[in-house]
Symmetry: C2
């Protein structure tokens, strides 16, 4: 199941976002407002309700780990793939497909489990881990108690 895709309608340069949760929708709205071409993929069509009325990109209802879905979205033409579904394994799989099968230059994956983070960075996949980012932010807020995570170290996972 997928929405109408007319890839020719959009510019040659575009960004694919897998996962239309709070972060994915926010990213999609922000990038679209900036005039970027965006394709958002989510298995759940209801998720697209989070997109703003001014969102000018394309939505694809489907599983971003499936090659047919990625091929339909002409992933090979994407300048960046950002995988922010609520499932770490999905994000890892999308990121690896984008990087290794389609040679996408910039690939970003959200990983809830901080232990995975280092591994994927070695594969050229940039990762964001909300727990690590939150720890760093709390570290800044508690200047009297340096948690030692501001440099990425010291996380007691």
């Amino acid at each position: 199941m997928k929405a109408n895709i007319n890839i020719n309608k959009i510019k040659s340069s575009y960004i694919i976002i897998a996962g239309c949760g709070r972060l994915g929708a926010n990213l999609a709205n922000t990038l679209s407002n900036l005039g970027e071409s965006v394709i958002v993929i989510d298995r759940d069509e209801d998720a697209f309700r989070k997109l703003s009325h001014s969102f000018g990109g394309i939505v694809v209802a489907g599983d971003a780990t499936e090659m047919t879905v990625l091929n339909d979205a002409e992933i090979e033409k994407a300048t960046a793939v950002i995988s922010v579904t609520n499932n770490d394994n999905t994000n890892i799989m999308v990121a690896q497909l984008a990087k290794e099968m389609f040679n996408i230059d910039q690939v970003i994956a959200r990983l809830y489990d901080p232990e995975c983070e280092c591994v994927y960075q070695e594969f050229g996949i940039e990762t964001i881990c909300p727990a690590v980012l939150s720890m760093k932010e709390i570290d800044k807020m508690l200047p009297a108690i340096p948690l030692g995570v501001l440099d990425g170290e010291g996380l007691a996972v």
Copy 2:
């Protein structure tokens, strides 16, 4: 239901963490490793399994929004209260109780919904929002497309 509390055992200065999820447990472990006295409150006793073997703080199984639980933990002596349960309303309630009822100097709440963030900052409650932090991080990773969130602005919620 609560674990044994012997508040006299710990130092006069300590930090209360509400919510022993990934972030709460990580914070508790890190602070404990640094020699800080920590009290962790969670409704679910199983959550305390995330604490490391070296965790030297106190755990309280109970609802951190209940005054009896906060009184048992002698919250008024805490130097900081950090509420990072997986429920925004709980975190807001704990933070407001800590700030207004017990005059705790440093109060930090995690809020998943970025729209709440500004309101509570006005009450002297510091907030961390994983979606905002993630957007800022992605902003750094996409230098060619400034999302405008690095200064806290531009989030298209």
